[in-house]
Amino acid sequence: MPGSTIVSLFETFLTYLRVGATGFGGPMALIGMLQQQFVERKKAISAAEFAEGVAIGQLLPGPIAIDAAVYVGYRLHGWLGAIAGAVGLILPPFLIMLVAAPLYFEVGKLPQLQGFFVGIRPAVVAVIAAASWRLGKKGLKDRAGFLIAAVVMALSLVFGHAQELARYVPAAEAIAPRVRDVGSIGLIVLAGVMGLLLPSPEAPAKGGDA
């Protein structure tokens, strides 16, 4: 790697900590910060290698930013670097959540504050709906894709209904929780199998939209 500099394990960890603590704005914001730090400022890793880390993140489950951080850490310092990447990025939000969760259960029960939660719950619904809209714009490229999304959505809603049915039909009570438990994971596997079986036009899929 011409022009790359060596960044110590400790400095790598500190950089991840900083990104983890200030990384608001979703996965792409985190990716951008990592890229800025490791590719542009420290020149520790080439842009092509970094892009490979992002490509892995898009391919695999889990947050893209974590996958990319683990990959960059691994390229720089092997196993220890990978651990530094994961721990550094996750530790700040983890600690913040450890403060937020007790606060939620103590202060959040105050009757005066209930309005706040009445307000955020519709917002969460909007965030999830917007996420599905955004994922759909990116991921639904052909008729097979729309079909898979529709089938999964319909089944997921039926599974949700099974739980409600169980409240009224005692016989369904035993099955409903099991259905839910297989639920989302089973549907993801089903979607993958449908992707394998359904005919689809040859996609370019060169990973250009990293």
Binding site: F24, G26, A55, G57, L59, P61, G62, P63, I64, I66, D67, V70, Y74, W79, A86, L89, I90, P92, F94, M97, A101, P102, Y104, P111, Q114, G115, F116, V118, G119, R121, P122, A123, V124, V125, A126, V127, I128, A130, A131, S132, W133, L135, G136, L140, A144, G145, I148, V152, M153, S156, L157, R180, D181, G183, S184, L187, I188, A191, V193, G195
Partner: protein
């Protein structure tokens, strides 16, 4: 026993959260709200909101779940232990998969079967997340004020680049203002 259930649930979710954050919502809701009843639907929505308001990936919602399950079984010490286990377990699968894939990326990307499977998964996640929005909407949108708030937030999120965490906080502030002004009643408690 509960710790083991929590660890396994988080490992399973961590293995299947394709596409990152959004898929977490339907996946984690299955065990946490429906199978084990660790959180109520409202608490889960609030936990996702907190995950959204904090920096970093949405997967730290698992930290919240661990904290609640742990403190209920034995105070703050257990809360810390459970929260740590939940967080490690939800990230562990993608950690190992990334390292495994680091050497195999070319082969994985070149394999047409893997490609087609993943494209199917990608489409499926869209449907799964959309269904989660519908289901959580049924719980959260009890009145016209909530529905209007949701519609406004959705418009802002789709039309602008304003960050989701900010939108959530802003809606909370509006909700707080409206209840204090007496326009909207809080839930009976």
């Amino acid at each position: 026993m509960e710790l083991l259930q929590l660890a396994l649930a988080c490992l399973r979710v961590g293995t299947f959260v394709f596409g990152g954050g959004p898929a977490l919502v339907p996946l984690l809701r299955d065990p946490v709200v429906f199978r084990y009843g660790w959180l109520t639907g409202e608490e889960f929505a609030d936990a996702v909101a907190l995950g959204q308001m904090t920096p970093g990936p949405l997967l730290v919602t698992a930290t919240f779940v661990g904290w609640k399950v742990g403190t209920e079984s034995g105070g703050a010490g257990m809360g810390l232990l459970y929260a740590t286990v939940a967080t490690v377990c939800i990230f562990l699968p993608s950690f190992f998969m990334t390292l495994a894939a680091a050497h195999q990326l070319g082969r994985l990307k070149g394999n047409p079967r893997v490609q087609r499977f993943l494209r199917g998964v990608e489409a499926g996640i869209v449907g799964l997340v959309a269904a989660a929005a519908v289901q959580m909407g049924q719980d959260a949108l009890g009145g016209w004020v909530q529905a209007a708030l949701c519609a406004a937030a959705l418009a802002v999120l789709i039309r602008t680049k304003i960050e989701a965490g900010l939108v959530v906080v802003a809606c909370g502030a509006v909700g707080l203002g409206l209840t204090l002004a007496g326009v909207m009643g809080g839930p009976p408690s």
